[in-house]
Assembly symmetry: C2
Homo-oligomer: 366 residues x 2
């Protein structure tokens, strides 16, 4: 079975110099993948040549004359740059030329253009952004929303839980993944009104056997792996994700500085290089790159704008897996079955009107 994925080669801080080698490497190791490289043809071909993949049988180039930059407004991405690599890559999803799209472009623009072109699934009011984070149990914790919705009602958090559950059950092969509701304490009386009402909706689903609701979880549970999925609004999710990235970089600075201070420390580091390599690998945020935009009528994956080729390849991997495990129709079915009351006109769903970037500004401009 061949899975076709469009790659917005111009998106992100580094453009084709990262996206093309990542695509080449992925195509080389995944014989079922066929990638459509979208963007300025000349630049893409130059990179393909550099990486000795000019005539790769499963890599094709699709020219797009414009580029959505990190500074472009959503308005510009949506209304002006109609031939941008981002938009053309998404149109290939809409036209069913490919099964998924990967972009490292501006999150707000990517979400807006995706919603405009693909529309939301029946029963989904607002798409959400979902990523994975590492945990103590050596598994992934799926967390959503990460910034698509800064003001959420219980009904939205409820939909996030349903979508997250369908995603994890497909991606991880877990029939009943556990769902935690992010809160300031475990007890049911904790939290603000939105969270309390959401918990009631989730408990009702749990009792009906629809969802596997664990209950409230706290911030530390994300990295302890208490539940497979952590649900929260986009404000809390965004701040938490970025704080974790910030702490990660702080730890990295401390480790690097200390192991380079003095000959003995440097010698010890060389001798224990196995451990240091394993630590770098386990804590490398690139391994967790690739957030999914859930709730759309198509699979869209967002890579971190500052990702290197290794990280970008992980985002392609996630898109590939999602297509392979048929995430889209599983989410559509879950939502349709469980929310028969949903009757919002297709694609006319509203939203918070604002989508925030899931990346720190510092990282973007670095």
């Amino acid at each position: 079975m061949t899975i076709k994925i469009s790659i917005d080669c111009m998106g992100g801080d580094h453009g084709p110099s990262v996206t093309v080698p990542a695509a080449v490497s992925f195509a080389n190791r995944e014989p079922e993948a066929e990638l459509v490289l979208v963007g300025l043809e000349e630049e893409i071909r130059a990179q393909l040549k550099k990486h000795k993949a000019s005539s790769h049988p499963r890599l094709s180039v699709h020219h797009a004359s414009e580029v959505v930059t990190m500074d472009d407004s959503i308005e510009t991405a949506l209304r002006r740059k109609k031939d941008s690599s981002m938009r053309v890559a998404l149109r290939l999803v809409k036209d069913q030329q490919v099964q998924a799209c990967v972009s490292a472009g501006n999150t707000g623009a990517l979400m807006a253009v995706s919603r405009y072109l693909l529309k939301t699934l029946h029963g989904v009011d607002r798409p959400a952004i979902c990523t994975i984070l590492p945990n103590q149990k050596d598994g992934p914790t799926y967390m959503l929303d990460l910034g698509a919705n800064v003001d959420c009602e219980p009904v939205h958090l409820h939909q996030f839980a349903l979508m997250g559950s369908a995603l994890v059950s497909a991606m991880e092969g877990k029939p009943r993944p556990t769902i935690g509701l992010l809160n300031v304490g475990e007890e049911a009386i904790k939290g603000n009104e939105v969270v309390k009402q959401t918990a009631e909706l989730l408990r009702a689903d749990h009792e009906k056997g629809i969802l596997n609701f664990y209950g409230n979880v706290e911030g530390n549970d994300i990295f302890e792996g208490t539940t497979d999925i952590v649900v929260c609004d986009g404000f809390v999710g965004n701040v938490t994700l970025k704080a974790s990235e910030g702490l990660g970089r702080f730890v990295k600075t401390v480790l690097t500085t200390e192991f380079k201070s003095g000959l003995l420390n440097m010698l010890g580091a060389v001798i224990a290089r196995g451990a240091i390599k394993a630590i770098s690998r386990r804590l490398n945020p690139s391994r967790y790159n690739g957030a999914s935009l859930l709730g759309l009528r198509g699979l869209v994956f967002k890579s971190h704008g500052g990702a290197d080729a290794y990280g970008y390849e992980w985002a392609i991997q996630r898109a590939f897996d999602a297509a392979k495990y048929d995430v889209l129709s599983r989410i559509a079915t879950t939502i349709a079955e469980l929310m028969p009351q949903a009757d919002t006109p297709d694609g006319a769903n509203g939203g918070s009107g604002e989508i925030v970037n899931t990346e720190s500004t510092q990282q973007k401009t670095a």
Copy 2:
């Protein structure tokens, strides 16, 4: 100048076996400190004897017959256990027998009893919990609120900024500490309504020269040290703090596991023990122990319930510094000067009605 501090010796997971040695060690190295050890006299004396401090001239014992446990409801702490070590230690602050109080007890109970006994400062609607976190600039980032208020209006976040500014200017000797408003992006158009309106209040203060408002900051800025103070509501603050604690423990597990896997790695770790010691020290959360309950008519510091003696001693240090640098009257003056419109009856101020624990449940029950 002598500074007297009451210690709720029974609070926390370990009680006198941690609080008393911490007090002894602090009294030994700080000649200006006089500590009143509050709790079950027999247990405290046994610990004093064990640590050869039975007749220390600056350590006294104040008996209190009851103990507020981690599981006690706020109601119990407030109405039933009137002779608890927590309450008696706080009453010493109210009666001006001491200048500050330190407790590792249940956060919710501590805040409730503190508010009941001490009342809030004129002009403060809701007290907030403020802690420090390490940052890339090797300085502390002060963050508030961390869980005292899960639903905040702009006026509350505004007050947090004023209190935080007064605290940092006193504790760090910075006349105009920078204030960041935690948000999902740096641009003024980002965020939810509460944050946007808060930014307007802070910008107005900045223009009048009252506050040094940097603008919006993102999660990563906490650990990058972009601003001296980060202001947020208690829900976001609590989740972010606990997520950071969880990530910290995850990193520690990874480091420990890898350096213990195999002889070469263990040998390397021994040789680079200087680096490993420095890393442990720099990343040790105990160094940042001691959160202040701001906005009360008295200085109250909360230690992490699971803190060891080293960590608890840091909480005493913070209380000592706050008394020494006259944090209380500086906050009172700042608030009174800047919010002359505040006319809430003394001590009759409302609140979110809920105070959440600033510690992870896992930690507590560990």
